[in-house]
């Protein structure tokens, strides 16, 4: 092999490897997309005889499905809203006051962002039984809020640090209260940060399966993730088309929000605190 050939191989190899990796990543995804348009979908990828939206129509027109999506939205929106509001409140003194134990508090928060939630679910279940919150949608929301709180505080505090102090002071001079200052000056300047936190917490709980699986019991209260799992177990082997259509519909909010979040995360990808929702 002479130098020229080697050079060509070095040029082409990366493209070949990346293309191969890309295809491996694409195939499973392609299956779900193609099958969702095919009423005779099978386990393997195949061209549909006729491309129809029937699967989607069936999934969307089913009342239990609508309900599951509604509950999922309620849970995730409720969680995102509460995390942002409570997180902003917590971030304020952490960003603006000189507190004695601020540093250790923030490190504890960072530590909590990385703990696996899975490990506490058995005691949480027991706790929910004794608090009479078991099988309660709002109970699940509260737990979601608590589990995303460390992440929310960490991110919002860091975003708040970058809002200059003097603008807030100017508002005070004009007679604004501390809360009005936060609401009218600090929060609007943190919109990208708030959106990032809201999006990540929303996606985290929207995609979560384990938490509602443990804390809910009545099928009528199941969010979309559980409904999909149920669907998978009951009719998975029979109706791949509908299953795929449900999956695509269920994945859409996560995908859309990710794309949206890219607009807010202007630069790079931070390592810190971005572990979970």
């Amino acid at each position: 092999m002479n130098a020229k050939q080697r050079k060509i191989i070095y040029r082409i190899m990366p493209y070949a490897i990346l293309t191969f990796i890309g295809i491996c990543f694409l195939l499973p995804l392609l299956w779900v997309l193609v099958s969702s348009l095919d009423t005779n979908a099978m386990q393997s990828l195949k061209m549909p005889h006729k491309v129809t939206a029937n699967n989607y129509i069936d999934v969307v027109s089913s009342r239990p499905n609508q309900r599951a999506f509604g509950i999922g939205l309620l849970m995730s929106l409720g969680q995102a809203l509460l995390v942002v509001v409570i997180g902003l409140l917590a971030a304020y003194p952490l960003s603006r006051y000189q507190l004695k134990y601020k540093k250790s508090f923030m490190l504890t928060i960072l530590f909590m962002t990385s703990l696996p939630i899975t490990a506490v679910m058995v005691p949480v279940y027991q706790l929910f039984l004794s608090l009479k919150l078991y099988d309660n949608i709002f109970g699940v929301i509260l737990f979601y809020v608590a589990s995303a709180m460390p992440y929310g505080i960490w991110m919002l505090k860091n975003f708040m640090d970058s809002v200059p102090n003097d603008m807030e002071e100017a508002a005070w001079v004009d007679g604004a209260s501390v809360f009005a200052g936060i609401r009218k000056v600090v929060a609007p300047l943190m919109i990208p940060g708030i959106c990032t936190v809201a999006i990540f917490t929303f996606s985290g709980s929207w995609g979560n399966f384990f938490v509602p699986y443990i804390l809910l019991n009545t099928p009528e209260k199941f969010p979309a993730s559980l409904k999909l799992y149920q669907f998978f177990g009951q009719y998975g082997m029979v109706d791949y088309g509908k299953l795929a259509a449900f999956s695509v519909l269920y994945a859409i909010p996560s995908v859309m929000l990710y794309i949206l979040s890219q607009r807010f995360m202007s630069k790079g990808f931070g390592m810190q605190g971005g572990t979970k929702g």
Partner: protein
């Protein structure tokens, strides 16, 4: 109003006693009740005979280290610890990290459209919720799935992936789901490696491999450590992906600690024992988190 007044006002507000407490109260309260208290309960319950049914359900008794003795003697515990380690090493430490790094490295200085297409495809697996991932990969590896269809096209006989090599399938599924995170992290890290150093090495006659080993890898060492910890922590808690794909089976071949914990607590109704297992998981998480904090602090 003069700036002096503003300043006074500002100072007074800042120093108001205990206002910080009102701000922090809601978040601390909710974390205490639903996060920290359950962690403490984990320690407590793991020493009890807590159960959902049977005699033990009527009265809660402290049974000392019985659960731990039971764990020590239970062969399934050893199997699930082993499975967890294999899953962590295979899918997180090696799989996602190495693949993510390779993708990031190969993508550098490539055609922009090409990068965008490959990047989007990899990211799609990450953005997709885990149950959908499980479904996609379940059908991909299924007996009549896409992978076997491709193999048959090349004249290779079909393999029952989910039965023959179940651990491999869930590892690959988790790689599919998680690689994008490492890819993004390494892309950012590689962009930070100064071009001048690499160029100087080229002038000095260093080969591609030498540049990679001697310059690039040492330069991003910190990122590799931090990322390894983060990815491992994320993988430690994986439940839905495995549960939906194999349910921990066949037998116990894909029973990782979260699956085993779930089975003991909610299938066998042995909450005390399940909690003892989750404590194991928690301790692994705590140790890894402490390392993670240390590596971030540096």
């Amino acid at each position: 109003m003069s700036s002096v007044t503003a300043n006074v006002l500002y100072q007074r507000r800042r120093r108001t006693n205990f206002t910080w407490f009102y701000f922090l109260f809601p978040s601390i309260a909710i974390m205490l009740v639903f996060f920290i208290y359950p962690i403490l309960l984990t320690f407590l319950y793991s020493f009890t005979n807590l159960a959902l049914t049977g005699e033990a359900a009527k009265e809660l008794k402290f049974i000392g280290f019985d659960n731990y003795v039971h764990m020590w003697e239970d062969p399934t515990v050893r199997i699930s610890i082993w499975n967890t380690l294999v899953f962590l090493m295979g899918s997180a430490v090696i799989g996602q990290q190495v693949l993510g790094f390779i993708i990031a490295l190969l993508m550098k200085h490539k055609n922009r459209t090409f990068r965008r297409v490959i990047g989007t495809v990899v990211l799609a697996g990450w953005v997709t919720p885990e149950i959908v991932c499980a479904l996609c990969l379940y059908s991909f590896f299924g007996d009549e799935g896409t992978l076997n269809m491709i193999l048959e096209f090349f004249g290779i006989s079909a393999v029952t992936w989910l039965y023959t090599v179940p651990m491999l399938t869930i590892i690959l599924a988790n790689i599919w789901h998680g690689t994008a995170f490492s890819m993004l992290v390494f892309q950012a890290a590689l962009d930070d490696v100064p071009n001048e150093i690499e160029e100087a090495a080229v002038v000095d006659g260093a080969s591609r491999w030498q540049i990679l080993y001697r310059i690039v890898l040492p330069y991003i060492k910190q990122t590799i450590t931090t990322n390894a910890m983060l990815v491992t922590l994320q993988t430690l808690g994986v439940f839905g992906l495995i549960y939906a794909m194999t349910g921990g089976g066949p037998g116990t071949s894909t029973t990782t600690l979260p699956i085993f914990m779930y089975n003991q607590a909610f299938v066998n109704y042995q909450l005390g024992y399940g909690t003892a297992i989750s404590l194991l998981l928690l301790i692994m998480g705590v140790v890894l988190s402490l390392f993670y904090i240390r590596s971030v602090k540096e």
